[in-house]
Every structure is written in C-alpha cells, then in structure tokens.
C-alpha cells in the first residue's frame, strides 16, 4: 500500500463525513430544529478524528529511532510475523 493511497482514502472518508454529509443534511433535514446540532456534531467529529489520525500517521512516517526489542521477541516476531524460519 502506498502512503499516498492511505492518506487519500482516509482524507476522503473524513471529508465525506465532515463536509458532504452536512451539506446533504442541509437539504434533507431543512425543517428539523436539530439540524444545526447534527451538522456541528458531524463537522467537529470529522475534524477531531482526522487531526488525530493524521498526527499519528505523520509521526510514524520518518521515525528517527526504532523499537528496542528483546532477542526472544525478535526471534518470535521473525518467525510468526515475517515468516522467517531461519532463526
């Protein structure tokens, strides 16, 4: 998976939640007294969750140091996660 693809998908999702849905609500719920509340909730959720995800993603893009693992753990991970049977 490419970095750009991941960012694109997630951004598109939160853009839909935070920008497209409120516009849809503007026309479908235009009579409801709670329409404004729904719109604010959607926009704020999208903004908060997107910032949170983006920060977590970007901070791992170019890490300056790596994890320090015990030798047992590395052996285990190499066998189970990365299918390296040589260790």
């Amino acid at each position: 998976m490419e970095t750009g693809l991941v960012i694109g998908i997630v951004t598109a999702f939160w853009f839909f939640v935070g920008a497209v849905l409120p516009i849809i609500l503007q026309f479908f719920l235009w009579r409801s007294p709670n329409k404004g509340i729904y719109q604010i909730m959607l926009i704020l959720t999208a903004v908060c969750c997107y910032i949170f995800w983006l920060t977590a993603y970007l901070c791992q893009l170019n890490p300056l140091f790596g994890p320090q693992l015990s030798v047992d753990m590395i052996r285990f991970m190499q066998q189970e996660w990365w299918n390296d049977q040589s260790v």
């Binding site: 998976m1 490419e2 970095t3 693809l5 991941v6 997630v10 007294p33 709670n34 329409k35 404004g36 509340i37 719109q39 604010i40 909730m41 704020l44 959720t45 908060c48 969750c49 910032i51 949170f52 995800w53 920060t55 977590a56 993603y57 970007l58 901070c59 791992q60 893009l61 170019n62 890490p63 300056l64 140091f65 790596g66 994890p67 320090q68 693992l69 015990s70 030798v71 047992d72 753990m73 590395i74 052996r75 991970m77 190499q78 996660w81 990365w82 390296d84 040589s86 260790v87």
Partner: protein, 842 residues
C-alpha cells in the same frame, strides 16, 4: 440552528388579569411552563400578602396528607403511580377537598388511638398471664406456698412468734430483659442481699403499644421480709419501670385467674383484629386517591404563591403581573390565557403587554434530553450571558473527544460505551424508578455523555493501539527484522537489539491506522509514545484555543462591537497563530522532512523555539557537520523574526486601542451634546442598541444604575483591558502547557493498564499447571476484572472527566465566554412536581 447557538430572545411582559380569571389563567400558565414571574411584592411581609389565608389552608391540607401518607407507608402499602397528572382544581373544589382530608385524618387518628388503648390492655393481660404461668415454677422450686401459708398463719396466731418463722412477702412483675442484670445488682446493693430474686424470660417478644416494636421481657419474682424492704423493693421496681402484677398465693386462685385472663385475652384479640381491619379499609380507600390529592394540593399552593407575587389594582379589580417570556412563545401564552378565561367564565379578556426595559433578561436554552446533559456541564461553570455564544453545541463533541484522548483504551472504551448504551436504552424504565441515590442520579443524568465518551475512547484506543494494554496487528507491522541467528545471541529475555529505521523500516506505508503494534513489545516504547503524545496534546490544545478565539467573532458581531473585532479578535489571533501556530508548523515540518538518514541533523524543536525568542541564529550553511540548533530551512531567520515582531506588536494593540477609542467616542459625544438619549444599556433583543455605550457594557462588569447618562470611567476600562491583555497573553502560554495533561493522563492510564496485565492477569495466564491452573486463572481473573473496573474505569474515568472539564472551562471558554447570566426559571408544574418527587422518601 438558532435555538442553541445563542440563548433565546426574551421579553418582559405585563399581564393584566381579572381577579376571577386570575386563578384559572395562572393554572393554565403553570401547565404550559414558559413564563417566569417577577415578584412584585418583595417588600411585603409574608403575612400581609393577599392570598395568605389560602396558602395557610393549603399547608393544613398538606399536613393532613402527610399524616395519611405516613400511615399508609407504615402499613407498607404501596402508593400506585398511574402517571396521570391531574389539573389544579377550581377554588370552589378546594373546600370539598379540605372536608375530605379532614374526615380521613380524624378517622385515622381515632382508629389509631383506639388501637393503641386496646393494645395496651392486651399487653397488660398478656404479661399478667405470663406472670401467672411462670410463678407456678417459682413457687414449686422454692417450695414456699405451704411455708408461706403456715408462716402467715403462725404469725397471726402468735404475734410474737419465734424469729425462726419465715415471713416472706413477694412481688411479681415483668421487666424488659436487658434491664435484668442492673435490676439484680441494684436490688442486691439496696437491700444488702436480703431479698431473693427469681426471673424467667418470656419466649416470644411482646409488642409495645406506642411504638409498635417488639420487646423481649422477663417475668420476675422478688421475695423479701418485712415492710421496709417491701417499700424499698417497690421503689426500685418503679425506678426500673417494671410492671407489677398482683399474684395470688394459692395455686387454685392462680389457675382461676389464669382462666379468666385467657378468656379476656381472646375477646380482646377479636376486637383488636376488627380495629385493624377498619384501619386497613380506611387506608386502602385513601391509597388510590392520595397521589392525585398530593399533586392537586401542590398545584393549588404553587398557584397561590404565584398569585401572591402579583400586584392588586383595586380600581379595575384586576391583578397585574410582570414576567419574562421567550418572544417565540408569546402567541402560546396568549392562547393559554384565553383558555383560562373560558374556564373561569370571565367576560373581560386578559391583556398581555410586552415592555421595554433595561434589565438583563434571563438566559434560556431550548434543550432536548440529549443536549441537556452538556448544557448542564457548561452551566455549572457559569450561565451564559444573555445572547452570548453558547459553547454547548461544540462541547457535545469536543468534551468526549478530549476525554478519550486521555482515556485512550479500546477495551475500557467498549465497556464504558456499553454502560452508557444500557442507560440510554433503558431510559424510560430507569427514569420511572425515581431513585434517590445521588451518585446514581449523577451518572444517569450524564448517560449520553458517558456513551459518547466510550465511543470516542474506542476510536482513540484503536489509534493508540491499546486495548487492555495489548495491541492489535490488523494490517501487519511496518517494521521487519532480518537479523540472522548469529546476531540473536545472548539471554533471550534481557539481551536487546534495536531495529534501526534505515534497514528495518517499511517498504510501503507506515501502519495505516494508528501506532504500529511493534511498539507495544518494545522496551523504549515510552520514549516514542511520549514524543508523539506530547506533540498531539499541544496540537489539539492550540487548535481548540484558536477555535475559541474565532468564536468570539460571533459575540463581537452580535453585540455590534466592531472595534472589538479589530482591536481584540485580530491581535489575539495574530498572537496565537504567530507564536503557537508556527510551533505546530515546525512539528509537522520536522516529521515530514527529516528521516533517519539525517537523524543527527534533525532540529531540536524546543531549542529552536527558544532561540526564536532570543533572536539567536546559527546558519547551517556555515557548518561542516550537523547541528541541531542550526536553521533548518531557507529564510528561517527572516520568517521567524517577522512572526515574533508581529506577536509582540499585537500586545500593545490589544492593550491600548480599545480604551482610547472608546474614550474618544465618549468625548466626541459629550462635548457636542447629542439629542438622542442612550436608552438601553442592557442587551434586550427587542431594541437595537443606540449609543456606543452598549459597546462599553459588553464584556465588562459595569453595573447599570438605570441612568440615562452612563458613567464612563476611563481608568476602569483601561485596567480591565490591561487585565484582559495580560490574561490572554500569559494564558496562551500557560494554557498550552496545561493541555499537556492530555499526554500525562493517557500515559498514566496506559501504564496502569499495563501494570494490571503484567502483575495480575499475566501471572494467572502463565501458570504451568494443568487443571489447577484453570482454577487459579478463574480467581486471578476476578481480581483483574474488579481492579479494571474500580481503578481504570471508575477512578481514571472520573479523573479524566474532571480534567476535561477543566480544560473546557478554563482553557477553551476563557477565550470567548463570560458567563454572567442567570437561568430562566419558568413557573411550571412539571418543574415543581419533578423536584418534589425526587425528594419523596421511599
């Protein structure tokens, strides 16, 4: 959206009601619950108010109803709640109600008195019977009857008989069981051991007629010699409140007496049962009606209290009321008044007349049951000033979100969400239980908040990749290792190796959703996570503060303070963005641009930031090797200098422009006299603010003395602006640091969770025993589950809730919110009855 964005527009109204129609109109207004009455008779003594007699009658009725209710509860009859809400009866019916309550109460009192007398009688007879039965044994043991009889005979014949003849008298009675030892001791001391006490306990407890509780008693018999001792013993018995009974000496007489007593007891029992039945009938009759009666009487009393607040106009035989009402509901109030007139049959219509006033109206929000919880949180700090921007709609999302940043565990979040969901789904049935437990009511009142907090915690828990301190590996770790067997030497558990990002990190994307699962097993996990969480906290905090500053635009626009827009909002925004927005930019820039190949050159952000303020720059191009303190992009020096100067310049703008501008306006106004008087200083929605004096009043705590020429104290305004400036600028820095609690609490939560895993559950899971291990894990799981709920859910949950509350109240709201209003408290039966029903003792 208008209704919750800012508070409703209110108007002060005057009501002219005919005296006959007033009661019915107020009753209808109470059912509607949208009108807040002002007390026009504040200075009048309570006993001189017009309807004081009616209120007194209502209190009498309430007293009677309370008595009846107490009796019903004593018999453990349930008061059925049919959920219906009867309307307040007309004044004529009040007399009927009074008569009915009087009848019920007197009947009950009579029955109770009779029952008590009967029970007392019953008790005496029972005790007598016990005495008669038990003394049989005493006499036989001591072998006295013949001796006593002989002795007395002997005494009669020979007055001065030999002293050897035993001259024993006796007293029989009943005493509570617990008093027997002190009684014995007292007898021993007082009579110097010359009396002989025998006692035996009565098996079944006897009912005390007055209090109704069952007491254990004992039958006693005292043998003594001589009159003096008799008197002494009698006094001691009186002192201990023992009941004395005459007991015949001979067995025959005793048996006869016993028979007589038994018969009387049976008769008495029958009468007692009938009395009980009668009482029950009365109570059952009252049981069905009592709730309706209570509601009716409460409504009548509320109506008369309200009527006492009106002023009476004798000339027109009408009552004048003043009160606040939302502008949108004026039509409803008029309709309701017409209904009241129709009910009372009055021909002259009532008049509703909106007034213009300088007073500040109350703050009213039309909340639903979902939004009420969040509005309570905001109101707890301070009720919004009239027509000020309401932080509540944003709090609905930001509050649970910031909570979840601190709580960040998918497992705990799921539990919290399920708890909230249960409370929401079972809302109706839980509401109808009307519990009095304050803690439960607090949790139940916040059910929507808890549900949202749980939901967001699941999301942040997935991003932190932390569920009960374990990580999910859904997409495959972005790290890999190609160490050979030869590299992996040393003790498996203690020897460690570091995976350098260069060779061992990703061929594609970083872990797409959240923190990579490899970090959970890493020894240097905390170093990595700290850096991430601290930066996240600062980013979120600055974003929320900028949002708060931007919300103040709406306040400035609504109150027509354009000068504030340019000399408060703009400098604040520039200060915030130039300094702290730039910090965020640097954080993201460093993440995006520098990777491990230049890890030695990656700028140390903190030092760069400090150097920015000290104007200390080291040009990177002049250095041969990397320096973390050197500039890391072109033109950094110029850009940073510009930002610092902009921020510094915005401070005097914030401090000086507004006071001097207002002063120049005031001078321009007073020197050439103006024709128009500035009328409203208050922000009454009806009248547009005329003079610039409104702009002075907004956001300041100047008190309106109702004068037309307002006081313009330049020094006060200047000091207030200085305080505002200092508060804002220092606040920016301290609040940014304060947001670091988002990092601190999430670290604490994660560590607690990990401790519970390592020290509790892991020990149970890693036991190397076959079947016993199963039993052990069962017990260990109990400890783990209890500690998870008690420590991690309840304690950490409350702690994170409190910190989120503080972040909202202080860091967010201080940017735009003044909170100087007072709540709209309409006269409504729903409010009165709800409050009362919460106070009912079950």
């Amino acid at each position: 959206m208008g209704s919750l964005f800012r508070s409703e527009e209110m108007t002060l109204c005057q009501l002219f009601l005919q005296t006959e129609a007033s009661y019915a109109c107020v009753s209808e207004l109470g059912e509607l619950g949208i009108f807040q009455f002002k007390d026009l008779n504040q200075n009048v003594n309570a006993f001189q108010k017009k309807f004081v007699n009616e209120v007194r009658r209502c209190e009498e009725m309430e007293r009677k109803l309370r008595y009846i209710e107490k009796e019903i509860k004593k018999d453990e009859l349930k008061i059925p709640d049919f959920g219906e809400n009867p309307k307040a009866p007309a004044p004529k019916e009040m007399v009927d109600l009074e008569a009915q309550f009087e009848k019920n109460e007197s009947e009950l009192r009579e029955v109770n008195t009779n029952a008590e007398a009967l029970k007392r009688n019953f008790l005496e007879l029972t005790e007598l019977r016990e005495v008669l039965k038990k003394t049989q044994t005493f006499f036989s043991v001591v072998n006295l009857p013949n001796i006593v009889g002989e002795a007395q005979h002997a005494l009669v014949i020979e007055e001065s008989g030999p002293a050897q003849a035993v001259q024993l008298g006796f007293i029989a009675g009943v005493i509570p069981r617990e008093k027997v030892p002190p009684f014995e001791r007292m007898l021993w001391f007082a009579c110097r051991g010359n009396v002989f006490l025998r006692y035996e306990e009565i098996q079944q407890p006897l009912e005390d007629p007055h209090t109704g509780e069952a007491k254990h008693k004992a039958v006693f018999m005292i043998f003594f010699q001589g009159e003096q001792l008799k008197a002494r013993v009698k006094k001691i018995c009186e002192g201990f409140r023992a009941a004395l009974y005459p007991c015949p000496e001979s067995t025959q007489e005793r048996q006869e007496m016993l028979r007589g007593v038994t018969t009387r007891l049976e008769d008495l029992k029958m009468v007692l049962n009938q009395t009980e039945d009668h009482r029950r009938r009365v109570l059952v009759g009252a049981q069905k009606e009592i709730r309706n009666w209570i509601i009716k009487v409460e409504k009548i009393k509320a109506i008369y209290h309200t009527l006492n607040m009106f002023s009476f106009d004798i000339s027109h035989n009408s009552l004048i009321a003043e009160g606040w009402c939302p502008v949108q509901s004026l039509e409803e109030v008029r309709r309701v008044l017409k209904e009241g007139e129709k009910l009372s049959g009055s021909t002259i219509p009532s008049i509703l007349h909106p007034l213009k006033t300088k007073e500040v109206p109350p703050t009213f929000f039309k909340t639903s049951r979902f939004t009420q919880g969040f509005q309570n949180i905001v109101d707890a700090y301070g009720v919004a000033t009239y027509q000020e921007v309401n932080p509540m709609p944003y709090t609905i999302i930001t509050f649970p979100f910031l909570f979840s940043v601190m709580f960040g565990d998918a497992g705990h979040g799921t539990l919290m969400f399920l708890f909230g969901l249960w409370m929401v789904i079972k809302e109706k049935s839980l509401l109808s239980q009307k519990s009095n437990n304050e803690i439960w009511n607090t949790f139940f009142g916040g059910r929507y908040i808890i549900m949202l907090m749980g939901l967001f915690s699941i999301y942040t828990g997935m991003i932190y990749n932390d569920a009960f301190s374990k990580s999910f590996n859904i997409f495959g770790s972005a790290w890999h290792s190609t160490y050979t067997d030869g590299d992996l030497q040393g003790d498996g558990e203690t020897a460690t190796l570091v995976l350098d990002p260069g060779p061992f990190y990703r061929n594609g994307t970083p872990y797409p959703f959240g923190i990579d699962p490899i970090w959970q097993s890493a020894k240097n996990k905390i170093t990595f996570l700290n850096s991430f969480k601290m930066k996240m906290a600062v980013i979120l905090g600055i974003s929320q503060m900028v949002f708060g500053v931007c919300l103040s635009i709406f306040n400035h626009l609504h109150f027509k303070m354009i000068v504030c827009l340019f000399c408060e909002f703009l400098p604040e925004l520039i200060f915030l963005l130039a300094l702290f927005g730039y910090l965020i930019f640097m954080v993201y820039y460093k993440w995006l641009v520098f990777d491990v190949t230049e890890s030695g050159c990656a700028p140390a952000l903190l030092i760069q930031y400090i150097n920015m303020f000290m104007f200390k720059y080291e040009d990177a191009s002049e250095k041969t090797d990397c320096d973390v303190q050197a500039t890391f992009y072109e033109n950094q020096q110029t850009i940073q200098t510009i930002f610092v100067i902009m921020a510094v310049l915005s401070v005097p703008v914030l401090l000086l422009v507004k006071p001097f501008y207002l002063r120049s306006l005031h001078n321009a106004k007073t020197h050439p006299p103006k024709v128009e008087k500035d009328t409203s200083k208050s922000v009454n929605g009806k009248s547009k603010p005329v003079g610039e004096d409104v702009k002075v009043s907004y956001g300041h705590a100047l008190i309106n003395h109702g004068e037309d020429e307002e006081e313009f104290e330049f020094s006060e305004i200047f000091i207030e602006q200085a305080i505002h400036t200092i508060e804002f600028c220092l606040g920016c820095i301290s609040h940014t640091a304060s947001y670091l609690r988002l990092w601190a609490l999430s670290l604490a939560h994660a560590q607690l969770s990990e401790v519970l895993w390592t020290m509790v559950l892991h020990i149970g899971l890693s036991m190397d025993m076959q079947y016993l291990g199963g039993l052990i894990i069962f017990v260990v799981w109990m400890f783990w589950a209890n500690l998870t709920i008690a420590v991690l859910l309840v304690m950490e949950g409350l702690s994170a809730f409190l910190h989120t509350l503080r972040l909202h109240w202080v860091e967010f709201q201080s940017k735009f919110y003044s909170g100087n209003g007072y709540l709209f408290q309409p006269f409504g039966f729903k409010h009165i009855l709800d409050i009362d029903s919460l106070q009912e003792i079950k």
